[in-house]
Symmetry: C2
Subunit: 226 residues, 2 copies
């Protein structure tokens, strides 16, 4: 569903050079739920942003399906992200002037499609936001904002969902319900989910766990649930 | 060090009323490390903000030491927060145009005091930010930003530190080092730390864990480390 080939992302140069990604190759298989773990600063968010076309690589390539996203025009890249990719940002990136509900359906609104309303209701129920839909982000708790971001990424049933620490601000019960919902999405809808997490019990919901350090993959395991 | 007496915080009214705090009384003892846990939306951040004078109560009182903070002028409240309280926000609230280092010493700069440089070096080392000090928040990973927020709260050696999920975006090794540092601060400097967390292994570093649900305390335990 997505992969990188020898991807490097380098900030600065000389003494202040930071190799956020350092020749990293990863293959994310369609219909699989992959967890990405690693120390703070090891390149996890950078990898996710480069795979989703939110950032460009210094060298190497990133593919969504067979499309080399480094070759796309800005317009085509924007369309690809809006229609085929769901992204849960580490900092949520919600629109402050829109309600939770409006934030959730924004990608479809922009795309001129209408969301599958029965699916949307399932998503909203799974993240437990039924009675917060009319509130704006500033009127929501940290974990509620995180759940709006998760619902927004899942609502349009995109091919691939990139989730950057989607349960970091949630208690284990709420987080567990969301992870189970994502596990089922992978099985029932054949979606591909790539999730960065620092929580081993969250990673246990994935089929495979990939470990990063200093911008490269250092280890990989298949989980019992695969 | 701090306490609330029958504190209530109510948003909205009638059908849309949300009782974020519902007659909550809590006593935070000087020199203790208290963890606050509970489901997403249960009132943890609201309690912290009201205790630190960042938000006012609908009814009831909040005290820092013997000072009823509901009675302070805006000016005195600002001074109290700047000089006696350290706050790690759930969303960090870093200044985007300042470097990590400048963000960390900002409270002292505003107060016209100079930070204890040997203490500051210990804090920066404990959070592992020695080689990221000159970078601005947008050039830092999520966990690095969180660590800047933690360092900023600890740097001025305030009487009380309120930390709202300070390790949510950190791998267990980095998070563990910060929690140990905070545990030692409580023992060596007699500081008071109040930490919201969703992570039971983080809460295990505290002397006492208080559990919230629906704006009230529902349970409390002393931990083995007390
Ligand atoms: N301005 C507001 N208007 C209406 N409701 C609000 C407002 N601010 C907060 N709330 C509600 O108050 C409740 C408590 O919020 P709070 O931020 O204290 O929760 P929390 O325990 O910190 O949750 P989390 O673990 O998700 O961070 C939530 O249901 C939230 O939606
Ligand atoms: N614009 C930039 N300039 C310089 N360095 C940067 C920039 N953006 C990111 N970095 C660095 O790249 C490295 C990787 O960052 P990344 O956000 O991918 O880490 P991460 O694994 O997601 O960490 P975390 O778990 O803390 O979120 C970090 O050391 C970070 O400081
Ligand atoms: Mg990150
Ligand atoms: Mg909160």
């Amino acid at each position: 569903a997505a992969r990188t080939v020898d991807a490097s992302k380098i900030y600065g140069s000389g003494d202040t050079e930071v190799r956020a990604l350092d020749g990293l190759s990863i293959d994310l298989i369609s219909g699989e739920f992959t967890a990405i773990m690693g120390p703070s600063g090891s390149g996890k968010s950078t990898l996710m942003h480069c795979l989703a076309g939110l950032d460009d690589l210094t060298s190497g390539q990133a593919f969504i399906g067979d499309t080399d996203i480094g070759q796309l025009s800005d317009r085509d890249l924007t369309l690809l992200r809006r229609d085929r990719i769901g992204f849960v940002f580490q900092a949520y990136n919600l629109i402050p002037t829109l309600s939770a509900e409006e934030n959730i359906v924004l990608p479809q609104q922009l795309g001129g499609t209408s969301p599958d309303s029965s699916w949307l209701r399932q998503v909203i129920e799974a993240v437990g936001l039924e009675d917060r839909l009319k509130h704006r982000p500033s009127e929501l708790s940290g974990g509620q904002q995180q759940r709006v971001a998760v619902a927004r990424a899942l609502g349009g049933q995109p091919e691939i969902i990139f989730a950057d620490e989607p349960t970091g601000n949630l208690d284990s019960k709420t987080g567990g319900e969301i992870l189970e919902f994502m596990q089922n999405a992978v099985r029932d809808l054949g979606q591909t989910i790539v999730m960065v997490t620092h929580d081993p019990s969250a990673a246990a919901h994935a089929d495979r766990v990939v470990f990063l350090a200093d911008g490269v993959i250092v280890h990989e395991i298949k989980t019992p649930s695969s």
